[in-house]
């Protein structure tokens, strides 16, 4: 009897899905919007994460040495800094390289280039570029350099300046922005997810409201609660599955287009490739959300009409 009952519930559910074509169309479209929001939310957190990571990589400290400093001492200091646990990477830019870079950067500015010629010799000092593992660790790295303990030889300092203290304000602001963007992203995510789930829930409630007379007839011919509710839950699940599949399809051209136009803005993050790489995860999230929202909305909405 159980299998007969299940078979009948499934069959009735499929028929109802198929025959109420306008209701079905409306519900599936609304559900698609909801699932699209959920999908884009999972993208947005990925976008935020990679963009933040990229931004964090762009923070660094430049240690500029006096022009008189000799290269061996500088490389010693480089070695010392590299041994610090907070430091991710130290890059050495020699005086010659610094000059080349400077000329490249100002290649269109004749005044500066001629001024450089006036000076005659290379006025630029060598530079060590330091990247920390985390933006919050720059302070301690800079303190370490400032205190002079980096100069193992104990000789007089060869460090001309450390730009951290000039950039400190900017770095602090950026750290704060990153932290609050994380929080804001989370709150927004929750907010949109809740709203879209409520909309889907209401739509399904409306479809059941339309069937309220039929539900009361079913009740009056003595159909059990499970037998009345079953097909509606099945229809809810089908809404979820169909809307989920359509959403996954729709995301292909959508992310392809978005990926192309926003790649620069998101600092090298291509949403299309992200979608393809994480397709299984995203498909699971969307399909599971669809089925869950559909089934739960139906089950909850029908309760009210089962009381006769």
């Amino acid at each position: 009897m159980f299998w007969t009952k299940l078979k009948r519930i499934l069959r009735t559910g499929f028929f109802n899905f198929w025959r109420d074509s306008t209701v079905t169309l409306a519900s599936v479209l609304i559900m698609m919007v909801t699932l699209l929001v959920i999908g884009l939310i999972s993208f947005s957190s990925a976008i935020l994460d990679t963009t933040l990571a990229e931004l964090k990589n762009k923070i660094d400290i430049n240690v500029t040495f006096f022009t008189s400093a000799n290269e061996k001492d500088i490389l010693n200091i480089k070695h010392t800094i590299e041994s610090l646990p907070e430091v991710l990477l130290v890059t050495y830019v020699s005086r010659e390289e610094a000059l080349t870079l400077f000329k490249e950067r100002h290649s269109s500015d004749q005044a500066i280039l001629s001024a450089l010629d006036e000076v005659g010799e290379n006025p630029l000092g060598a530079v060590l570029n330091v990247q920390a593992r985390d933006p919050s660790q720059y302070a301690s790295v800079a303190d370490f350099l400032e205190s002079g303990s980096a100069l193992s030889s104990g000789s007089s300092t060869i460090i001309d300046r450390i730009n951290y203290f000039q950039n400190k304000a900017a770095i602090d602001t950026l750290t704060q922005i990153i932290a609050s963007a994380d929080r804001l992203g989370f709150v927004l995510t929750l907010f949109f997810a809740i709203i879209s789930v409520l909309i889907a829930f209401n739509t399904i409630r409306l479809t059941i409201y339309l069937a309220r007379d039929e539900i009361s007839v079913m009740r009056l011919v003595g159909a059990s609660t499970t037998y009345i509710r079953g097909p509606f839950v099945v229809v809810g699940i089908i809404y979820g599955v169909v809307a989920g599949l359509l959403t996954l399809l729709l995301l292909l051209p959508l992310t392809y287009w978005l990926g192309g136009t926003t790649e620069n803005f998101f600092v090298g993050f291509n949403i299309f490739f992200y979608y393809l790489r994480h397709f299984l995860e995203i498909a699971f999230i969307i399909m599971a959300s669809g089925v869950f929202i559909g089934a739960l909305s139906s089950a909850l909405a029908i309760r009210k009409y089962l009381k006769v």
Binding site: R19, E214, L220, V221, G222, A223, S224, T225
Partner: protein, 226 residues
């Protein structure tokens, strides 16, 4: 046997729908309940189907108090009662066949029984050619015949018809009454609520007249003169 024992129904807005109604209906009886609109006919039927609870008094079916039943038992009880409404109340997205099959499925009948009984009962109401049509494709009289077939298919002990001819023309009305009569002759109790004088005069069966919530007349082979 159905017994209404001093049943009153007072709605929350303190309008009195039924007042101290006492009535007993024998098995295989054909009883018509007559009275003007708002007299309390439908309330009486709703109380019997446990759609409403009485304010005081009790309704018994074969010595069980209907309002003491739990949800499951009410479902089981309702399957023993076939119902026909003025507005037909067919399931609009199911075909004629499925409408009738649904009632049998709800009663837990097997697929084989459903396949053999549905055409049979449609033959009884003379509607075999419309078996695969949807309700919207049927006339009023045809819809009511589907509703009667649906009420009949589980071989109920009782058929309740609440103004079954209210939306029908005289010819269809006559047909429906004949079908109800035939059902009663086959041994099913029929309770018919109506305010159609012609039907009552045609039937020459028991008539209970209700007015303002009270039974004002109970006539064995009555005529309609409320």
């Amino acid at each position: 046997m159905i017994v209404f024992d001093r049943v009153s129904k007072i709605y929350p807005d303190s309008s009195v729908a039924l007042e101290e109604v006492t009535l007993s209906i024998e098995p295989k009886e054909f009883i018509s309940i007559v009275g003007p609109s708002g007299a309390g006919k439908t309330t009486l039927l709703k109380l019997f189907l446990a759609e409403e609870k009485p304010t005081t008094g009790a309704v018994y079916y074969e010595s069980t108090n209907i309002h003491a039943l739990n949800k499951k038992e009410i479902d089981a009880f309702r399957r023993k009662v076939g119902m026909v409404f003025q507005d037909f109340r067919l399931l609009s997205n199911k075909t004629v066949y499925e409408n009738i099959a649904f009632t049998m499925e709800a009663a837990g009948r097997t697929d084989e029984e459903i396949e053999s009984d549905v055409p049979h009962v449609l033959e009884l109401v003379d509607l075999t050619p419309k078996i695969w049509n949807f309700p919207r494709e049927l006339s009023g009289g045809e819809k009511q015949r589907v509703a009667i077939a649906r009420a009949l298919v589980n071989e109920p002990d009782i058929i309740i018809a609440d103004e079954p001819t209210g939306n029908l023309d005289p010819a269809n009305t006559y047909d429906i009454v004949q079908i109800l009569k035939k059902i009663n002759d086959l041994g099913t109790t029929v309770i018919l609520a109506t305010h159609n004088k012609g039907i009552i005069d045609l039937l020459k069966r028991r008539v209970v007249a209700i007015e303002r919530g009270k039974v004002v007349r109970d006539d064995r082979t009555g005529k309609y003169f409320v």
